[in-house]
C-alpha cells in the first residue's frame, strides 16, 4: 500500500472498506464507498446531519456547534469536517444513515422518499388554453412528401440539388443543410424509391436541416413530444405534428428526487462523484419511459417521433443536457446556458428517431427558466393590455407579473406539498387522486371526489386545498393549522406524537391504509401557501402595486384538473378578490412547450418573453420574511385582507 494512502472502514450497516489518500474528508469517502450518510448542506459543515463516530485511527476534525457536549464525549464528529490520516474505522450512527440494513442503498433512498416514485400514469390532456391556435402552424419537425422529376440529359443537377429544388417548390426555405449521412444514402435511396420520398425537415436555429429522407410517402406519420420537466414531476405529451392533435399525456415523479428534493441539493449532489451522471440518467429514464408508454399506447413507431420540445427550470435543463449546474449555486449565480440551441435528441440520450431533434424553451435567468417562459406564452400574459399575475404553484413557485409592455418575475420556494410530495398521503393529479373534499360541519363526515371517479388512492394538490378549507370552516383545525381538542370523531385521532384526520378509511380506499391528513402535512401546506402568497404580495409591492390592481390572475400547476377558487382564497393561497378575476389553467408549462413544438412563431415569441422578463430576487427584500411569517396563518394574520373569508373557531 502506498504510504500516502490509508484504509477507511465503515462498520455500519455492512462493513465496507475503501483505500483512499490521506487527508480526504469522510463524507466524500463515504459517497465513494457507497455508504449512505445524510447531508443536506453538501459538505459545508452547517447542517450537522453527517455525524459519525471514528472508532479507531488518526483523524483531524473541525469543531462544530452541531455536536453537543455529550456527543463530543462519545466521539461524534461531522464526516464532512473530518479528514483521515491513518487507517480508520468509522461507525455511522442510525440517525445519520438509513436504518435499513437489508435494503440496497438505492432502494433505501427510494423508501426514504416513500411514494415519490411511481410509474407514468395517464393525465388529463392539459388542454386549456386561453387562446390556443393563435400561432401559425410550423412545427419543429415537418414532413414533406416529394415526387422528384427523375434526371434526364437535359436536367442534370445533382441529387441533393434536385431534392432542394423540390423542397423549395413547396416551401420558402433559402438556406438548407443536410448531414453527410443523408448525402451518402441519397443517390441509392432516390432511385430505389422511384424518386418518391418523404423529407423530414427540422428547424435548427436559423437554418433548416434535412433531418432524414425516407422512401415513399410517410408524411402522415410525424409525431412530437412536449415535455415539462419539473423539480418534482415530469410530464410528457404526444402530439401529432400534422394535425396538432394531442394523443396522450403521461406524468411521473422526477426520479432525481431520490438525490434531493430541491434544486440546490441536486446541484450539490451533481458535484459528487458520478452525481451528474446519476441525475442525468434519472431524468432521461423518466423521459424515455414516458415516451415509450405514449408510443406503445398509440401503436406508433418510435422512429416516427421526430421532435421533442422541453420546458423546465434552468437546473433541470442543465441536468437534462448533462451540463454541470454547479455555477448556478455560486455567486454571482450564473447558468451555463439559458438559450440552448436545437440539438439531436440522441445527444442527450432521449430515444426517439435517432436523428430527431431536441429543443429547450429559453429561460430568463438562473432562477426563471423555460417553464415560466412557456407558462407566460400559454396564458398570453405577454399579449394582453391587462395587468396579469401568473402564479405557478410548483416546487419553485414562480410568479410573473406584467402585461404586453413589461414583465417581472420572482421565485418562491414553495416546496413540493401541492404536488403531493412531502405529505403523508400525497400523490400527483392522476386517476384515484382525491381532488374535492366536503366535510359535514356537524357530523364531520367526509365526502370525496377523485380524478376519474376511481376508488381513492391519495390526495393531490387541489384535494389538499379543498381539504384545508373544509377543515377550517368546520372548526376541525384552528387558524394556525392545529387540530381542535374539542372535537370527538373517530376520524380525528392520535398518531404517535401527532394527530391526524382520516379522509377515507381503508375499507373504502384503493390502497392498503387509511387516507389521512396529519398535523405535519398541515404545517407543510401552510408553509407552501404562505410562500406563494407572500412572494406575490412582495412582487406587487416592489412595483408599487396591490393585489386589487391586478385585472387577471392565472393559476398554473399540475396539482389537479380543477381548482376551487373560493377555497384557495379561504386558505389564503390567493388574495380575496372577485372570483371572476381568477382562472385555473393547469400545467401551463406543458401547454407552452407544446405550442412551441407546433409553431416556430411561438418559438420566436418565447425568445422575446425570455429576453423581456426581469427577475427580482426576493431573498434580498428585507420585508420578505415578515410578509412570509404573517402568511403562515389561515387565511392570513391580517384578517382585513380577507374580508369575505369567514372562519368559525371552536
Amino acid at each position: 500500500m502506498d504510504k500516502d494512502s490509508c484504509i477507511v472502514t465503515f462498520l455500519h450497516p455492512n462493513p465496507t472498506t475503501l483505500e483512499v489518500n490521506k487527508g480526504r474528508d469522510l463524507l466524500s469517502v463515504a459517497v465513494e464507498a457507497g455508504v449512505y450518510i445524510n447531508s443536506s448542506c453538501g459538505g459545508d459543515g452547517v447542517c450537522g446531519r453527517c455525524k459519525v463516530i471514528v472508532k479507531r485511527g488518526q483523524f483531524k476534525t473541525e469543531p462544530s456547534g452541531r455536536i453537543t457536549l455529550d456527543e463530543r464525549r462519545k466521539g461524534y464528529v461531522l464526516a464532512c469536517q473530518t479528514t483521515v490520516h491513518s487507517d480508520v474505522e468509522v461507525e455511522v450512527p442510525p440517525e445519520s444513515g438509513v436504518e435499513l440494513d437489508k435494503i440496497s442503498d438505492e432502494d433505501a433512498k427510494l423508501l426514504r422518499l416513500k411514494g415519490m416514485y411511481s410509474q407514468a400514469v395517464d393525465l388529463g390532456k392539459a388542454a386549456l388554453t386561453v387562446e390556443e391556435g393563435i400561432f401559425k402552424p410550423s412545427p419543429l419537425a415537418t414532413k414533406l412528401y416529394l415526387e422528384l422529376k427523375p434526371p434526364t440529359l437535359s436536367d442534370t443537377i445533382s441529387d441533393l440539388e434536385r431534392l432542394y429544388r423540390a423542397i423549395r417548390k413547396n416551401r420558402d426555405i433559402p438556406i438548407m443543410q443536410a448531414g453527410l449521412t443523408n448525402i451518402k444514402r441519397l443517390g441509392r435511396l432516390l432511385r430505389e424509391s422511384d424518386w418518391k420520398v418523404t423529407a423530414l425537415l427540422g428547424k435548427r436555429n436559423e437554418t433548416v436541416e434535412i433531418v432524414s429522407i425516407e422512401p415513399g410517402d410517410t408524411s402522415v406519420r410525424n409525431y412530437g413530444i412536449a415535455l415539462d420537466i419539473g423539480t418534482t414531476t415530469v410530464t410528457g405529451q404526444l402530439v401529432d405534428l400534422n394535425t396538432k392533435e394531442i394523443l396522450g399525456t403521461k406524468g411521473t415523479y422526477n426520479k432525481q428526487v431520490t438525490f434531493g428534493s430541491d434544486v440546490i441539493t441536486r446541484i450539490v449532489y451533481a458535484s459528487e462523484s458520478e452525481g451528474l451522471e446519476k441525475l442525468h440518467h434519472a431524468v432521461i429514464d423518466n423521459i424515455n419511459g414516458i415516451i415509450k408508454e405514449l408510443v406503445n399506447d398509440n401503436k406508433i413507431n418510435l422512429n416516427d417521433v421526430n421532435a421533442v420540445e422541453c420546458a423546465g427550470n434552468t437546473t433541470m435543463i442543465h441536468l437534462l443536457l448533462r451540463v454541470d449546474p454547479k455555477f448556478i449555486r455560486r455567486e454571482p449565480y450564473v447558468s451555463t446556458a439559458n438559450f440552448v440551441p436545437v440539438i439531436r435528441a440522441a445527444e442527450a440520450g432521449i430515444k426517439i428517431n435517432p436523428r430527431g431533434l431536441l429543443a429547450c424553451v429559453p429561460g430568463t435567468s438562473t432562477y426563471v427558466g423555460g417553464d415560466i417562459t412557456a407558462g407566460v406564452l400559454a396564458c398570453g400574459l405577454n399579449r394582453t393590455d391587462k395587468l396579469t399575475l401568473l402564479i405557478d404553484v410548483g416546487t419553485n413557485g414562480e410568479i410573473v407579473l406584467g402585461n404586453k409592455e413589461w414583465m417581472v418575475s420572482c421565485a418562491a420556494s414553495a416546496g413540493p406539498a401541492f404536488e403531493g410530495s412531502g405529505v403523508k398521503c400525497g400523490m400527483r393529479a392522476a386517476e384515484g387522486a382525491i381532488q374535492r373534499v366536503a366535510i359535514d360541519k356537524n357530523t364531520y363526515d367526509v365526502e370525496v371526489i377523485t380524478i376519474g371517479k376511481a376508488k381513492p388512492k391519495g390526495i393531490c394538490g387541489s384535494g389538499y386545498i379543498d381539504c384545508l378549507a373544509e377543515l377550517l370552516t368546520s372548526g376541525i383545525i384552528d387558524r394556525n393549522g392545529k387540530f381542535s381538542e374539542k372535537i370527538s370523531s373517530p376520524r380525528l385521532r392520535s398518531s404517535g406524537e401527532s394527530r391526524e384526520f382520516v379522509l377515507v378509511f381503508k375499507k373504502d380506499a384503493a390502497v392498503d391504509f387509511d387516507i389521512v391528513i396529519t398535523e405535519e402535512d398541515l404545517d407543510n401546506l401552510k408553509r407552501s401557501k404562505g410562500a406563494i402568497y407572500s412572494a406575490s404580495s412582495i412582487l406587487l409591492r416592489k412595483m408599487n402595486l396591490e393585489f386589487k390592481d391586478v385585472e387577471q390572475f392565472y393559476i398554473a400547476g399540475g396539482f389537479g384538473t380543477y381548482l376551487d377558487i373560493d377555497k384557495a382564497i379561504a386558505i389564503g393561497l390567493l388574495p380575496d378578490l372577485e372570483r371572476e378575476r381568477f382562472s385555473f389553467i393547469g400545467n401551463s408549462s406543458l401547454v407552452g412547450s407544446r405550442e412551441i413544438l407546433l409553431s416556430y412563431q411561438a418559438k420566436d415569441e418565447s425568445e422575446n418573453i425570455a429576453r423581456k422578463m426581469t427577475y427580482i430576487e426576493l431573498s434580498v427584500e428585507s420585508s420578505y420574511m415578515d410578509e412570509y411569517v404573517s402568511s403562515l396563518f389561515f387565511p392570513h394574520t391580517d384578517l382585513n385582507r380577507f374580508p369575505t373569508v369567514k372562519i368559525k373557531g371552536k
Binding site: D478, R479, E485, F633, D638
Partner: protein, 321 residues
C-alpha cells in the same frame, strides 16, 4: 420662524386591562389596578392620553429559586422557601402593587409538584395579601395544562392574569381563564406576526380581546433588547393605527431576562474590574426596564426591590406632563 411640531393623530387606543377583582365584583382583592388605555406613543402627552400609569409586578417563586445570585436573593433572606411569607414581605415591606407568582416547583425538573399543591399555594397567597396576582406556569406545556386549570379554578372570581398562552399551547389555558373569569397573557417569540396570530387564536375561542395582555418576549440590555424594542414599537404603532388584534397592553418579564445576563450575576471576585455585583445586577434590571417603558410596556415584572423603587421614580417623572 417658529417651528410647528407635527402631532400624530391616532384612530385607536390600547385596551384597558384590569388586574384583580374587589369585593363588589365577586373577588377578595383589597386593591385593584388598571393598565393600558393609551392613545399615543409612550409619554407623548401632546398627541394623546396615557390614562393609566405603567405598573411593576414583583416576581415570586413557589420554591427556592435555584439560580438567583446572592445580590438578588439577599433582600428576601428568610422567606425564599416560603411563598406566602415572600408574598407578604413584598407587599408589606417593599410595597408591591401586584405580585407575579411563578409556579416553578411544578416543573418536572424542579420538583414536579402536584396541581393540587400549586392550587393550594395560590389560594394561600390570595388569602395572605390583598394585591392582584399574576400567575405563571412552569413553562412545561404538558404539566402547565394540568396545573393551570386547577389554579384558575382555585382563584375563580379574583381576575388574575394567567400565563403564558403560546401559539402551540393556548387552548387549555384559554378555556380555563374564560370559565373562571381571568385575563390571559399571550406570548410570542419577538415576532409581531405571531403576537397577532396568538391573539386571533385566543379570540377565536370566544375570549374577549380586552382581557388579553401581550408578552412580546424581550431581551435584556446587551441580549437583543433592541429587537424587542422595535417589535413593541411596531405593534404599538399598528394598534394606534387601528389594529384591534394588537391593541393589548404589554407585559415584560424584565427581572427574569436581566438577571440571566452574565454582567448581572457574575461575582466581583471573577471580574474585579466590573465592580460590585449588587450595583451591576440592579442597574441591568433598571436599564432594561426603563427601555421597555419607553417602547410602551404597561406591566413590568421585576425582581430587585431597589431596582423597582428606582424604576418607579422614573415612571413618576415620565408621567409628569
Amino acid at each position: 420662524m417658529a417651528v410647528e411640531l407635527i402631532r400624530d393623530k391616532w384612530v385607536n387606543k390600547v385596551n384597558t386591562l384590569k388586574l384583580g377583582s374587589g369585593m363588589e365584583e365577586g373577588g377578595s382583592r383589597s386593591s385593584t389596578l388598571t393598565v393600558g388605555g393609551v392613545s399615543t406613543l409612550p409619554y407623548l402627552f401632546s398627541d394623546g392620553q396615557m390614562p393609566h400609569r405603567p405598573v411593576i409586578a414583583m416576581e415570586i417563586l413557589d420554591t427556592k429559586p435555584p439560580d438567583w445570585p446572592k445580590a438578588l436573593s439577599e433582600p428576601f433572606n428568610g422567606v425564599l422557601d416560603n411563598p406566602v411569607e415572600w408574598a407578604k414581605k413584598c407587599v408589606n415591606e417593599y410595597k408591591a402593587e401586584v405580585l407575579c407568582l411563578k409556579l416553578q416547583s411544578t416543573h418536572p425538573d424542579f420538583g414536579d409538584a402536584s396541581p393540587d399543591k400549586a392550587a393550594s399555594t395560590v389560594k394561600a397567597i390570595l388569602g395572605a395579601v390583598g394585591v392582584p396576582l399574576i400567575i405563571l406556569g412552569s413553562g412545561n406545556d404538558e404539566k402547565d395544562n394540568l396545573v393551570l386549570p386547577k389554579c384558575s379554578e382555585a382563584a375563580k372570581g379574583e381576575n388574575c392574569l394567567f400565563g403564558d398562552a403560546t401559539q402551540e399551547n393556548y387552548k387549555t389555558l384559554t378555556a380555563s381563564c374564560l370559565a373562571d373569569g381571568h385575563s390571559i397573557i399571550a406570548e410570542s417569540p419577538i415576532d409581531i406576526n405571531i403576537a397577532k396570530q396568538v391573539n386571533i387564536l385566543i379570540s377565536d375561542m370566544g375570549f374577549p380581546l380586552e382581557k388579553i395582555a401581550i408578552n412580546p418576549t424581550i431581551g435584556a440590555l446587551g441580549y437583543g433588547m433592541e429587537y424587542a424594542y422595535s417589535i413593541m414599537e411596531r405593534a404599538r404603532l399598528a394598534a394606534l393605527a387601528g389594529d384591534k388584534m394588537l391593541s393589548m397592553p404589554f407585559i415584560c418579564f424584565v427581572g427574569f431576562e436581566a438577571w440571566r445576563a452574565k454582567e448581572a450575576k457574575t461575582p466581583q471576585a471573577e471580574h474585579p474590574e466590573w465592580g460590585p455585583e449588587v450595583e451591576r445586577g440592579l442597574m441591568w434590571e433598571v436599564i432594561t426596564a426603563t427601555s421597555m417603558l419607553l417602547c410602551g410596556a404597561d406591566i413590568l415584572v421585576m425582581r430587585h426591590p431597589k431596582a423597582i423603587s428606582i424604576v418607579n421614580q422614573t415612571i413618576d417623572k415620565l408621567m409628569k406632563k
